[in-house]
């Protein structure tokens, strides 16, 4: 996931950089009002955990490895704004001090790994909390499902950026299929780990968890055991839902037509002006195979991500207002 320099074109790097700066700037501004003093060490330790967890790669099917993203877990523990800040710090320090991910790629790396996972994961968490019972077990399950979903959202976000900023003539559909396919498996791992970690923290210090503030003592004690197997099964269910949504669009892709469209797209591109090629190299066109189909998938994926991230942002802003029913300083 830590994309290196030059993976997407300069225009996309600048655009995603602007979006990331804006969102994180807003989150920092907001955190000045909401970040309680005690939360600074908590945020630092969550960051250290995510950093450590990202260093352990677990094997995924077909020889690839995945690692934890942690955005959803951070958002549920600390609230989405601070969660996004925390993962951003992890990504930035990894780029600066460990050469993991490019410096000019920070825009899209932060967007995909911190912002989409934190706000999208938070939105999914809120949705699952509505459906699941209002108990400690429900919190754990919702965390696992949101964790898994957030990884898939992140992979979809990357594919969308590929649509606009492809540096290679590979159609969007192929990238989306491959990315989401691999990340279904990574998502299962992320979901299981997030859920189990949440369960462990919930037992010892439920007061630390931002996303479980609404539970009272009785609900907290109601801890119907949820085994690893149940979480794996629910994770697969989430993955299947995402998978079918994506494959619905991808299944009827006519290969020949796609090839022709790509060929003509590149032919039209060949008379580009020198300066066009300089910064906005082959902007968008080369990434699209079958334009209508790609746009349909991109649109659907974009709407889904925007809805979830927007919902997460909205929930974050609304949640930052002081609540009347909650004594301050708790």
């Amino acid at each position: 996931m830590h994309a290196p320099d030059g993976f997407l074109n300069a225009g996309t790097a600048v655009a995603t950089g602007a979006v990331s700066l804006g969102v994180i700037g807003t989150a920092v501004h907001q955190s000045k009002a909401t970040l309680k003093e005690k939360q600074v060490p908590l945020a630092g330790i969550v960051a250290a955990f995510i950093f450590a967890a990202q260093m352990f790669n677990f094997p995924v099917a077909a020889g690839t490895t995945g690692h934890l993203l942690g955005g959803a877990l951070a958002a549920i523990l600390l609230g989405p704004s601070i969660g996004a800040i925390v993962v951003t710090i992890v990504v930035v320090v990894q780029a600066l001090a460990f050469a993991d991910g490019g410096l000019t790629a920070l825009g899209y790396n932060v967007l995909n790994m911190a912002i989409v996972t934190a706000f999208g994961g938070w939105a999914l968490y809120r949705l699952f909390r509505r459906i699941l019972p209002n108990t400690a077990a429900g919190v754990v399950a919702a965390t696992g499902l949101a964790g898994g979903g957030s990884v898939i959202l992140s992979s979809m976000a990357f594919s969308l950026e590929w649509l606009f900023g492809a540096t290679a003539p590979i159609p969007f559909d192929t990238v989306l299929g491959a990315m989401v396919g691999v990340h279904l498996f990574i998502g299962i791992g992320e979901g299981v780990i997030s859920g189990l970690a949440m369960g462990a923290i919930l037992v010892a210090r439920p007061d630390l968890i931002y996303g479980a503030r609404d539970l009272d003592r009785a609900q907290m004690r109601d801890r119907t055991p949820i085994g690893a197997r149940t979480l794996v099964i629910s994770g697969i269910l989430v993955a299947l839902v995402f998978g079918t949504v994506v494959s619905q669009f991808a299944a009827d892709s006519p290969d020949g037509l796609e090839r022709v469209a790509a060929d003509t797209g590149i032919a039209a591109n060949a008379q580009d002006h020198t300066l066009d090629r300089f910064v906005f190299a082959d902007y968008a066109t080369s990434g699209i195979g079958n334009e209508a189909l790609s746009l349909a998938i991109a649109g659907a994926a974009g709407v889904l991500i925007t809805l979830l991230v927007g919902f997460g942002l909205f929930a974050a802003v609304r949640g930052s207002r002081p609540r009347r029913d909650q004594p301050s300083g708790v």
Partner: protein, 254 residues
């Protein structure tokens, strides 16, 4: 914490690059990578120039090339992806050894591999010549918000503690005959990670309280660490100026 605060990528030396103020190094590294990223891949000579500059820097920092090469392995997954592009890419095809390859695909393979390895080498050099606390200090001086800097400081302070402790727990588990390596065996790992989390948090809370009691106001006091002088900025500016000049020339000529 007896091991000092050096980290895996830091190479202890006394060179011009090691002594340059961190904020100047950070800015120079970032701007140089920007210059590399905007250069068109068709200008192969520009990338040769970038690579020459980097080789010079590596020599200057007295970092061994084998060390850099070993650390470059982090970009391998992306290089593998890039290698596949010519085979599956569309557009004009060329025959190489009887295999049909996409011309645009070859260019983008070159583009990704060249830019990724130059960018990663610059990051490796930055990390090899700057200790992590200095990097964080440099971020603070480049006007990164104080909340971010203090969270980053805490993260780095606890990273080694946590990683070390998790490693010891894992060794203890393995020594007792339990070697979890599959996903469904994750529960003991997660439970120990959870316990570790609570423990570190409570430790961090105490440390933070102690810091507050000693007058911590959200930013570490400047203990006379050298700030960037005009000389630092001048030396630091050399690399990005060279990079931007090459990038501009490459953009105009191709």
């Amino acid at each position: 914490m007896g091991a000092g605060h050096a980290h895996a990528l830091y190479v202890h030396e006394h060179t011009l690059l090691h002594h340059l103020a961190p904020e100047a190094k950070l800015a120079a590294a970032f701007l140089f990578v920007v210059a590399v990223a905007i250069s068109p891949p068709q200008a192969i000579w520009a990338f040769v120039a970038f690579a020459a500059a980097i080789v010079l820097l590596v020599r200057l920092a007295r970092v061994r090339f084998r060390f850099v090469a070993g650390r470059l392995l982090v970009i391998v997954p992306f290089v593998l992806f890039a290698v596949f592009i010519p085979f599956i890419g569309s557009g004009e095809q060329v025959e190489v050894l009887g295999i049909s390859l996409s011309v645009d695909g070859l260019w983008s393979m070159w583009n990704i591999i060249a830019k990724a390895s130059i960018g990663a080498t610059i990051s490796i050099l930055l990390a090899a010549t700057t200790e992590i606390p200095d990097i964080v200090r440099g971020m603070g001086r480049l006007k990164v918000p104080a909340v971010l800097v203090s969270i980053a400081t805490f993260m780095i302070r606890y990273l080694e503690v946590i990683a070390g402790e998790l490693g010891r727990m894992r060794v203890a588990m393995t020594a007792r005959g339990y070697d979890p390596r599959w996903l469904w065996q994750a529960k003991p790992i997660a439970a120990s990670a959870g316990a570790l989390f609570i423990r570190s948090y409570e430790r961090g809370e105490r440390v933070y309280d102690a810091m507050l009691a000693r007058g911590y106001t959200g930013a570490m006091p400047d203990l006379g660490h050298r700030r960037a002088t005009r000389r630092d900025w001048a030396i630091g500016a050399a690399l990005p100026l060279f990079g931007l000049a090459v990038a501009l020339a490459a953009g105009v000529l191709t």
